[in-house]
Amino acid sequence: MLIKGPSGIGKTTLLHLIAGLFLPDEGEVIIGGKALGKLSDNERSELRRSSVGIIFQKLNLIEHLTVLENAELQARGGKDLTGKSMNALEKVGMSALSGQLSASLSLGEQQRVAVARVLSFSPDIVLADEPTSSLDENNSNIIMDSLINLPEETTLITVSHDHRIEKRFSRIINFSELS
């Protein structure tokens, strides 16, 4: 699903509400049958950790960690943790840079690592906030190919101004039309 609309209309706020980063003043957000408002802060964190992958527009990574360490941040897999993360990096074409510090990466490469972080733990929902807005055509395609090819049972909700990616979504909600 793609959500589009002018700046300041509340697209990011909606993503953050879905992620349970804060709670609505009215109404409820229900994920997998669980009302987020009824969960404790720790339970909401656990839900995000296990089921929600988030990709921001920029500053997705921890600067002093390597590409691989950033990809491992959300994954859980015991012994297989590194293997899963390396597979995910492979999918976004970043495995060759796995030992490099993320601070030295270009914006496009950082976005690809952020996508790998999501791919490494197979979330139920992926929330992507303007994932391609600052990227060139090539990087934009790599990111969108990775997201569109997520397993069928994964729900992808993307917020974007980027007209280049609209054709990839079967369902588009235009907030300006709603308002």
């Binding site: 804060f22 720790n42 964190s45 995000r48 296990s50 929600v52 921890i62 510090l101």
Partner: protein, 410 residues
Amino acid sequence: MTPLRLAILNLTRRKLTTFFAVLSISISVASSGLLLRSYILSNSRLATLGKGCDAVVGAKNSGIEILLGSLNGEGDFPDFVPYALFESLRKEQHGEGVYVSSGIKSVIPFLYFGKFKNYRVIGTDESFFKRPQPAPDLDFAQGTWAANPDEVVIGSYIADKENVRIGDYITVSPWLGKSEERKFPEFKLKVTGILDRTKTVWDYSLFSNVKQAQDIYRQNLDSAKISIWGYNVLNYFLIYTDFGSRKPLTDLINKRTVAQVIYVNEEISKLEGLLSSGKNLGLFITLMIILLGGLVVSVLMITRFDAMKIQLAVLRAIGYKKGEIAKWLLWEGILLGVTSCLAGALFDMMLFPALKGAIGMGLPETVFASSTIFQSIPIWIITIAATCIAAYIPFVIFNTLNVHDSLRGL
């Protein structure tokens, strides 16, 4: 990723910041440790001070130096006083002198003349051990007094530590004056007695007779090189006296001779006064240094937190719990604290001998007043606690952080 791993990576990847933080804290730890150890060592004098007399006569000097030189085995080789004066005082003791009101109950000769390893060998006589009532005698655990030539009595610590028994011969190096730096031929003494444990400097001392001591001077030095009195000298006389007769004794010694009498309890009170002021000042400076170290960590952590605010918000957004973030920061505090303590302890160990050398007479000999690096443990505990608290400050700020607001627009 576990909080511990996050902490290790955060510290090791920011090498320069971590290096300066560890350096600052370790300097604080070392400085505080040095102060604490100096204070403990200095204070140990009061515990190790040899018991057994009311007054000490020595060459003119400060009272505390005479006290510590005689009853605590400290400092350089002391100046001499004439043996003739000792003999005069002995006559006073037996009521045969001119100043019958001097009130002397016992006068004991005391002359350093050698060292066995770092332990001082004292020439004295049997009166050193048999004190006038009500003072208790200094008992022998084994053997008897070294009344004959080439005999010696040793303190209990030396017997245990150096594994010396009655009948053993020990090799002693002559120690004959501060200006005599050349090496004299060593000599052997036979152990005839081992003292009971006193928990004082006497456990770390050896005792032979005065004649033996003066013979060693005679064998090694020209008479003129020792003093104007030739070989007939002592370093100190230890005196037991009636309490009411101090003034006549002081008048006799201080005004009419080259020597000086000091009263042990008075000098101990002065020493306690000095130690107490030193303690308060030392404690104040130690607290200031630790506070400074704690503030360095706080500033470091807060600055680091400001730089990482967005990244912390990202971690929260991808599911890290507040508790995990708190653990991460706590681990950083512990790791910084422990590393700094290890480095600080190393500095402490390396610098303490130099500090002790620089202070000189200000600190007692470590041969009988122990000073180990583990005396700095309280400083290490305070430092680790301080770094943990300092590391926790960002967490308090982090709790007020709104993740949604921090991430808006990213």
